[in-house]
Amino acid sequence: MAEASPRQDLLAFMRSPVAEAAPDAFEALALRVFAWQYAHNEPYAAFCRRRGLTPDRVAHWTAIPAVPTQAFKALPLITAGGSGEAAGEAALFRTSGTTQGRERRGEHHVSDPALYHASLLPTFAAYLLPDGARQPMCSLVPPAADVPDSSLAHMVDRVMAACGVPGGGVYVDGAGRLDRAGLEARLAEHVAAGTPVCLLGTSLALLRWLEELDAAGRSFALPAGSRLMDTGGYKGNEREVSEAALRRTYGRVLGLPADHCVNEYGMTELLSQYYDDVLRRRVLGGAGPPAGPRPKAGPPWLRALAADPDTLAPLPPGEEGILRHVDLANLGSVAAVQTEDVGVVLADGRILLKGRLASAEPRGCSRAMDQLLDAARGT
């Protein structure tokens, strides 16, 4: 019997306030999403059958077969018919694919942008705008029109359109060039007027700009209430800066308090995102940011578990492993995604990121075969 698409119930779930969602709702919906994807996504169904994990044998969300992020490079992970009744113009997001040159880039087909937006906007609002603030948004992420396959650019574009107020803009072009003069003039206006602003960017773009500012002996004291969202855009780059060092720079050069600097953790393969919950906690509960690493929280339709790197079996909360996400906003592709990000899932569901698995360089002389075969392929 063909089950109905869980889309409408999922949208209703996403409309409930982020903090007040019933925990059971996730469980039931996750299993429905799995059954729907098993029925309508043949490569994924084949992946599940190979593991003997069919919907009738999966009783808990942690047992839903998770495709490795690698699968987005190799298989067309499209749940046919999308979510049943897609709305909006379909998008195709690609991973940046910078770490391993010869590899294909991962592709995430988004046939139902309405569902994507229904996930990303309330989550952003919950963690960046928990006080209901409406601020001009200045972005250091290239405009979505110039990089249509960037999920980050798309997300920032939607956030600015939905949550921003006039007075902001995009200050990086499609080639990644920063319009420093424009950005700094705009910030100076807001400082003069006492208008709080929201900055959005990759950690790398922000760092490069702030180093230039710093070198020029300039700084801003952004008006109280100003905030910043950065995301791990420097991962795998030549620059590796600790989050804490970066936040000190935000404080020194922009005048932003640490609890107004919110780090986002997202990936092309997931349509929902995690954020530091420091600002949200500050606004709602008054607690300051933790001294150590910051836990990240996501919306109620996104859950994580840590898996054993060897067996891929789920680990109990508190144990370090490789993170697996079940993101119900991925209704149109595959909800359960196994990453190579190392982390811990806390008892309350928040996650602590510990970095990525070191790439394996076996002892001795073994990479030779890999390299010779690559050379023979002419890659």
């Binding site: 790439s359 002892r363 002389c365 073994s366 023979a376």
Partner: protein, 468 residues
């Protein structure tokens, strides 16, 4: 908490060491070694090279005897030296204790008197060529001399290879400075220390310790003093050694190598014979968890025989499952486990996309066998991951290996109808050793190494001409 002094440095006074470095093993044992500055390394290299002069009066048979006594201790279960090696190596290498025991036994057997005598015979016609001038075939009269000082840069993948390297230089009366690998800084030190107690002059001609490869003035000083540099490791390590070696120094390179296996019709007619070959192939792959240069990384199995590639693959999988009981795979770093999953995933995605690919694997990462009939050669991530490639014939198998030519080392062959023809084709391609699956993981000590004579490339000859 116990400390293992991971160095053997004749003349070094621990009290005078300015700086120590340490590493704590997973079982809590601390490894400690001195941080040698340029000046200290220069003095050390000079001391060891000077100590070598005392060996000029030592007959080779005496050197063999001392090495043999240390080797005997290393295989004697009641000897504390053996116990120390067996206790430290699993923690330091990650290999299962059963693997360490097996490797110690097999490696040390090549350090016993008969093996060393056979090596000298094969390489130099016997020890006499080192003890005096001898008549050589063709009417020459000559004597062989070893290096004044050899610098060895060891790799950590196979315990014992470093010791073999030190022994080769000792046999030709050379002194050595050995730089241990981070992955195995124990056995060469234990060997050198034990040798020093057996024969003080030999111990004084050996220095073994750790420093990070390619790092700074210490390595440069050691290289500057050496007339032979022996390197083991990947292409980058070899290139670094070549760049840093002084002009005139002889380089003995054991760079990256790939080994494979071919199963021909003769092994695929009778199911019982095929099972035996599958067991031997699995064992050849399992030894040192496939990290040796001689470990087969891919298998090419001739199709169209009574035992199909699929049946052979199943037998191979069964053999790996059994080996998990008797010779378990060592623990993996999370990144190594991820590499196994990544390769499995790639194979699985090919299968899902309809390609003729089948995967047999342990529940964890302990072993993986992929049958891949797509016609493309697949790499291994090691740690007991092998792809079986069906091929039309042994000849087709050799052609399939063409991309590996530049680095081909051992080819294990079973059931080839015309073995010599196959070996010749493999030799033309670049293979340096054609052998059985049973012998593949254990190259004989008297054999060629990467196709070259291991003592011949260490010595120089002095010819004494008629009428002098």
């Amino acid at each position: 908490m116990s400390v293992f002094e991971a160095w053997h440095l004749p003349g070094l006074e621990p009290d005078h060491v300015e700086e120590w470095r340490e590493r704590v093993l997973p079982d809590g044992v601390r490894l400690r070694w001195p941080w040698l500055r340029a000046g200290a390394m220069r003095e050390l290299a000079g001391r060891v090279a000077a100590a070598r002069e005392a060996l000029d009066g030592v007959p080779v048979v005496e050197i063999i005897g001392a090495v043999n006594r240390v080797a005997a201790r290393l295989v004697d279960p009641a000897d504390p030296l053996r116990a120390e090696a067996a206790a430290l190596l699993p923690a330091v290498t990650g290999f299962h204790p059963a693997m360490v025991t097996l490797v110690l036994d097999r490696m040390a057997a090549e350090w016993r008197t008969p093996a060393l005598e056979r090596l000298l015979q094969a390489e130099l016609g016997g020890a006499a060529a080192l003890d005096g001038f001898v008549a050589l075939p063709g009417g020459r009269r000559a004597r062989a001399f070893g290096p004044r000082l050899a610098l060895h840069v060891f790799a950590g993948n196979v315990p014992g290879v470093a010791v073999t390297s030190l022994i080769r230089v000792l046999l030709v009366r050379g002194a050595s400075v050995g730089k241990t690998a981070a992955g195995e800084p124990v056995l060469p030190v234990l060997f050198a220390r034990a040798l020093a107690t057996e024969h003080a002059a030999l111990g004084d001609a050996l220095a073994v310790t750790y420093w990070p490869g390619g790092e700074g003035p210490a390595e440069q000083e050691a290289l500057a003093a050496a007339d032979v540099a022996v390197g083991y490791g990947n292409a980058a390590a070899m290139a670094a050694l070549r760049r840093a070696a002084p002009p005139g120094a002889r380089l003995v390179e054991h760079g990256p190598r790939v080994s494979v296996g071919i199963v021909g019709p003769g092994a695929l007619t009778d199911p019982a014979r095929a099972e035996t070959v599958a067991r031997e192939a699995a064992r050849a792959i399992a030894v040192v968890d496939q990290q040796g240069c001689v470990s087969p990384q891919a298998l090419l199995v001739v199709d169209g025989c009574p035992v199909t590639p699929l049946a052979f693959t199943r037998a191979l999988a069964a053999a790996f499952e059994q080996l998990e009981e008797t010779l378990p795979r060592g623990g993996l770093e999370p990144g190594e486990a991820a590499a196994v999953h990544r390769l499995r995933n790639e194979a699985e995605f090919r299968a899902i996309a309809g390609a003729p690919v089948e995967i047999f694997a342990a529940p964890g990462t302990a072993w993986t066998v992929v049958l891949d009939a797509t016609g493309e050669l697949r790499a291994s991530c090691l740690n007991r991951f092998v792809t079986v490639h069906p091929v039309a014939s042994v000849r087709a198998a050799v052609v399939r290996l063409t991309p590996l030519a530049a680095a081909l080392q051992t080819v294990a062959v079973a059931g080839a109808e015309e073995l010599e023809a196959a070996a010749a084709a493999l030799g033309r391609l670049g293979a340096t050793r054609v052998t059985s699956f049973r012998a593949a993981p254990w190259p004989p000590g008297h054999g060629l190494h990467d196709g070259r004579g291991p003592l011949r490339e260490l010595v120089r000859w002095t010819e004494l001409e008629d009428g002098s």
